[in-house]
Amino acid sequence: MSAVPALVARDRGGPAQPLLRVRGLVKHFAIRKTVLGRADAVVRAVDGVDFEVVKGETLGVVGESGCGKSTTARLLMHLIAPDAGETLFDGEPVGSKDLGLRAYRRQVQMVFQDSYSSLNPRLTVESSVAFGPQVHGVPKAQARDRARSLLARVGLEPSRFAERYPHELSGGQRQRVNIARALALQPRLIILDEAVSALDKSVEAQVLNLLMDLKNEFGLTYIFISHDLNVVRFISDRVLVMYLGQVAEIGETEDLFERPLHPYTRALLSSMPSLDPDLRTEEAPLAGDPPNPINPPPGCRFHTRCVFAEPICAQREPVLVAGEPGHSASCLMVEPASGHSRAPVAGDAPIPA
């Protein structure tokens, strides 16, 4: 494919530079307003999120519903404005002179969960895919050619599918169209927000394989948001666990799944259904609903449901600390000398996150 050299040429900082670096991302939603329009209650959907996305990797993002995964995706896409925090794309702050929003959006695209709602019902799939390039000045005929070749690449024969309307396609086919549309701008990073969650298992596997092939072919980087731990483990190089708008744990997929540091991650992992009867658990690993994000609990946000919770957990807010190289968690049991009885002793040199 001719697209690949172009992508390499766009690489600025080399492979060591993270493709995306997010610092202190915050988004609060005012849900009740007083007569004067002042916020009365605030949902802390995303509350101080830091992470990096390495070039060429797939970063899985997991967490319960309502933990801020989708809000994070929309913030990264700049579909909603953050209250605080900055995003650096390949070293450049997004929205700066060197990297305007329009240029950034060319390089970052998104695939949404609802394959029907994310396609315009009045446009043929070819027009939907060709729309993005046309916006960026590609002539109509050329944009249509590109759309057709991308449809072919995602497994939809253009002569059969290009002229169809979204309601004439199945869920899996529609999601392939959405992937083609995301690829049409030749992005470097694709955010997949529950992109396969609504598909049935066999179709899901096909689309996952397609995504892995496309990643190699076009040199893409993925942020893969899902609540399905098996899928995340299958596709991700690294995994980020979110809880109530914050990063609970982040690390290499195998490290995180084999040696989870955060009790929340442990609970999540033990909730995975297993086919092995010996590994099956009868009791629920996590009791109760997540606390209300309007008034998150003080200290560690997980202490209300944590089996290791101690009084210190309700007072001191943990920070993201590395428990082992490249594997961090925000838990007082990982933070040295935090006051938790299971915390490492102060003498152990902490590994910087």
Partner: protein, 295 residues
């Protein structure tokens, strides 16, 4: 259902022509009520256009000798009015003004109201609140009262009646436009279009208009009947068309003195108004359901 059957019968490599609107037309054709109403509207429009060729007599020629002849009088199939003018000819010529006064305000209000509503709905936030609250002020008055008040304030006359009717119809159309736009705007494909870096106007043109104009148009069609009745009402009150112009509302007004002498003739303009407005209503109903089917 039928499109499903077609899909399975056609060989899959055939590119099926026709998009959304041909499907709407196909479903509309299968609705007998809508087809009937559409034919009635078509007939009325043709009558209005061809009035000089169809009308058996001059609608203005009065004669004090043949006032209020009953229906079926030789030479006057629908009788004569209180000044002895041929009722049939006046009803035929009346279609011109009455249709014009029914359609024009709605058409102008369709464009202005849609523009206001779509823009407010797409931009959202404070601008939307401001626009919609302003619109709500107009909404607070019953439409008849508003039309009469505006018309009275502007002064009697044909142009002012049209203007006041247009002003009456802008708020409800803007309301509907805003509601539909807000709903479409929250769909992921609009987000995806924003994510591709498209400007607001491009998104409205490519992704919003096609999805909202249909429902707004259907709603506007249903207002034509209201507009005709309001226009007739204004003429009836002496605020719209002036005598001796033939217009159905005005005819209803001037014939009211004859209601005890010739009740059927006095009721004729009302009957025509009723038939026309109910045809527009039924047709817009059919259009709505034809546009609703998606899967």
């Amino acid at each position: 259902m039928a499109s499903l059957v077609e899909n399975t019968i056609l060989p899959p490599t055939v590119v099926r022509g026709g998009g959304y609107w041909s499907g709407v037309f196909r479903r509309l054709r299968r609705d007998p009520v809508a087809v009937g109403a559409g034919l009635v509207i078509l007939a009325i429009v043709l009558v209005a256009i061809l009035a000089p060729y169809i009308a058996p007599a001059d609608p203005y020629r009065a004669s004090s000798l043949r006032r209020l002849r009953p229906i079926g009088t030789p030479g006057f199939p629908l009788g004569t009015d209180e000044l002895g003018r041929d009722m049939l000819s006046r009803l035929i010529y009346g279609a011109r003004l009455s249709l014009f006064m029914g359609v024009t305000p709605v058409l102008i209000a369709f464009f202005t109201g849609s523009a206001i509503g779509i823009l407010a709905g797409y931009v959202g936030g404070r601008l939307n609140t401001l626009a919609m609250r302003t619109i709500d002020v107009f909404y607070a008055f019953p439409s008849v009262l508003l039309a009469v008040a505006l018309s009275g304030a502007l002064g009697a006359g044909f142009g002012n009646a049209l203007l006041s009717l247009t002003i009456v119809f802008i708020p409800p159309i803007a309301r509907v436009a805003e509601a539909v736009t807000t709903q479409i705007r929250s769909r992921d494909f609009v987000e995806a279009a924003r994510a591709s870096g498209a400007s607001g106007l491009t998104i409205i043109r490519v992704h919003i208009l096609g999805n909202v104009l249909g429902p707004i148009f259907v709603y506007a069609t249903s207002l034509i009947s209201v507009s005709m009745i309001l226009a007739s009402g204004l003429s009836f009150l002496g605020l719209g068309v002036r005598p001796p112009e033939p217009e159905w509302g005005l005819m209803l007004n001037t014939l009211r003195t004859a209601i005890y002498v010739q009740p059927w003739i006095a009721a004729l303009p009302g009957l025509v108004i009723f038939i026309t407005s109910i045809s527009f209503n039924l047709f817009s109903d059919g259009l709505r359901s034809a546009m609703d089917v998606k899967n």
